[in-house]
């Protein structure tokens, strides 16, 4: 089997496993919808207020939604020995790790990207701002999956790994949320969001190219 086919096989396997547990797949989206409903209930339905808090609120909820499923990323693989097989296989572990990250993003990141605009409509954002928000989520959520996978790879063997994960990962998410919400807020106030979006895209490239190596190193330590 060639490397691209191995990566594809791993990706399809993860997607197939996710499809068999549909309730788990729906969790991030349901979380996003329900928490987004709580904010107008708690703060009152003042339209101006909702519009001004929408970029931050929707982004923070999306970030937490992506984190929900993070702890499961390598857990089953560690339990049933798949992880050991991946590590001793003849393909480079960073590339396989990237396939795992891709599968995680497709299962929990992409649904959030697709549903967040619906929430944004409910918060009364203009269609132009919603477009910027969708773009910022499209660029930002893969970064969340990549950085999150580093945290998971380091804590997967721990008994209280899930609790730990937020401590490890949230500080590293800070730059993402800063630039993503800066882009949406700029568009909201009538400025060009281009600068923040470009920075976000640069961060995406950096995360996707370097995170797999950290994930691979983390997995090797966790399994040993």
């Amino acid at each position: 089997m060639s490397l691209p086919r191995a990566v594809l096989a791993l990706l399809l396997r993860d997607l197939r496993l996710a499809l068999r547990r549909r309730s788990e797949m729906l969790t991030p989206v349901l979380f996003l919808l329900m928490v987004a409903t709580l904010f107008p209930l708690g703060l009152g339905p003042d339209r101006d207020l909702l519009v001004s808090i929408a970029p931050g609120v929707i982004w923070v909820i999306s970030l937490l939604a992506c984190m929900l499923s993070l702890s499961l990323m390598f857990y089953a693989d560690l339990e049933d020995g798949t992880l050991d097989q991946l590590i001793i296989s003849r393909w480079p572990l960073p590339v396989l790790a990237l396939a795992k990250v891709g599968a995680h993003w497709l299962v929990s990141g992409l649904p959030v990207v697709l549903v967040a605009p619906v929430v944004a409509v409910a918060y009364g954002l203009s269609s132009e701002t919603i477009g910027v928000m969708a773009l910022s989520l499209l660029l930002g959520t893969p970064i969340l999956s990549s950085i999150g996978a580093i945290g998971v790879s380091l804590s997967v063997g721990l008994r209280r790994g899930g609790m730990f994960l937020s401590l490890l990962v949230l500080p590293l998410y800070v730059p993402v949320i800063i630039f993503a919400t800066a882009a949406v807020t700029a568009s909201l106030e009538g400025f060009s969001p281009a600068a923040s979006l470009y920075l976000l895209a640069a961060m995406l490239v950096l995360a996707v190219t370097t995170a797999p190596f950290a994930i691979a190193a983390g997995l090797r330590i966790s399994v040993s």
Binding site: I147, I150, G151, L154, S155, G157, L158, R160, F164, L167, L168, L170, P171, L172, V174, P175, A214, A217, G218, I221, S222, S224
Partner: protein
């Protein structure tokens, strides 16, 4: 092998490191006390009050050196961590992990002294400014590194895992350093430049530099002391460690 490389290789041996650091620590501690005393005296009693801030500015003699150390120790921890990961040197792993709590303490001191100064000067203990927020994130990363190191059973895997986390968090360091230039922050830009014009009077600069040196010395003797204890703990079944604490039982594992 030349002398320096030889010395460096020897330093990787826990026993040699233990003896070497034991000799070094009293001198570092003494130097730290002297420089710290001089710096504090010159800074708190001799340096003139600021023409705008009065005596409140004197907190910079604590705040600025602590802030420098919060970044310096992080980088030192990462360098030591890389050495530990790449060459599997136990002493380097331990030095990296011994650095983390000291760095976290300096970060906390920076945040607290900054808040105390901010209250009379800015009218608020805390603002969500890029400099302040990134320093707070640094504290969280330190806590994450310490937490991960504590959580993993095997001490060596724990040190390697925590070092990797520290390396990932390294991206935050330039953000903190350049935050006052990249964003329009309430926190002022730096007044001290090693090269070029200083925006601070020598009567204030020298105590500040003395405090910077004193905090470095403080870190040096503290990290060595911590590393010695951690080494003894991890190597407690080795003969050199038992001999070091005056407990040399015949027949114990070498």
């Amino acid at each position: 092998m030349n002398k320096l490389t030889l010395w460096f290789h020897k330093l990787g041996s826990p026993e040699y490191f233990y003896r070497f650091s034991g000799k070094l620590i009293p001198w570092l501690a003494l130097a730290c006390t002297v420089v710290l005393g001089w710096g504090l005296y010159r800074g708190l009693f001799v340096a003139p009050p600021d023409y705008q801030q009065g005596d409140s500015y004197r907190i910079i003699f604590i705040h600025v050196p602590s802030a420098w150390m919060s970044l310096f120790i992080y980088v030192a921890m990462c360098v030591s961590g890389v050495v530990g990961i790449v060459w599997r040197i136990k002493v380097a792993e331990i030095v990296a992990m011994a650095s983390a709590p000291i760095g976290a303490a300096f970060t906390a001191i920076t945040l607290v002294t900054g808040a105390l100064w901010g209250r009379p000067m800015w009218g608020s203990y805390w603002v969500w400014d890029a400099r302040l927020t990134s320093e707070l994130v640094l504290l969280f990363i330190y806590i994450g590194v310490i937490g991960l190191y504590q959580a993993i059973e095997d001490r060596r895997s724990a040190a390697r895992a925590a070092s990797i986390l520290a390396l990932v968090g390294l991206v935050n360091i330039p953000i903190i350093h350049f935050s006052v230039e990249w964003w329009a922050t309430l926190h002022q830009g730096s007044t001290v430049n090693l090269m070029g014009e200083n925006a601070i009077h020598p009567s204030m600069l020298w105590p500040l530099l003395a405090m910077a040196l004193a905090t470095k010395l403080f870190y040096a003797f503290n990290v060595l002391q911590r590393a010695r204890v951690m080494l003894l703990d991890q190597e407690s079944n080795k003969r050199w460690a038992q001999r070091a604490i005056g407990l040399d039982m015949p027949g114990s594992a070498a």
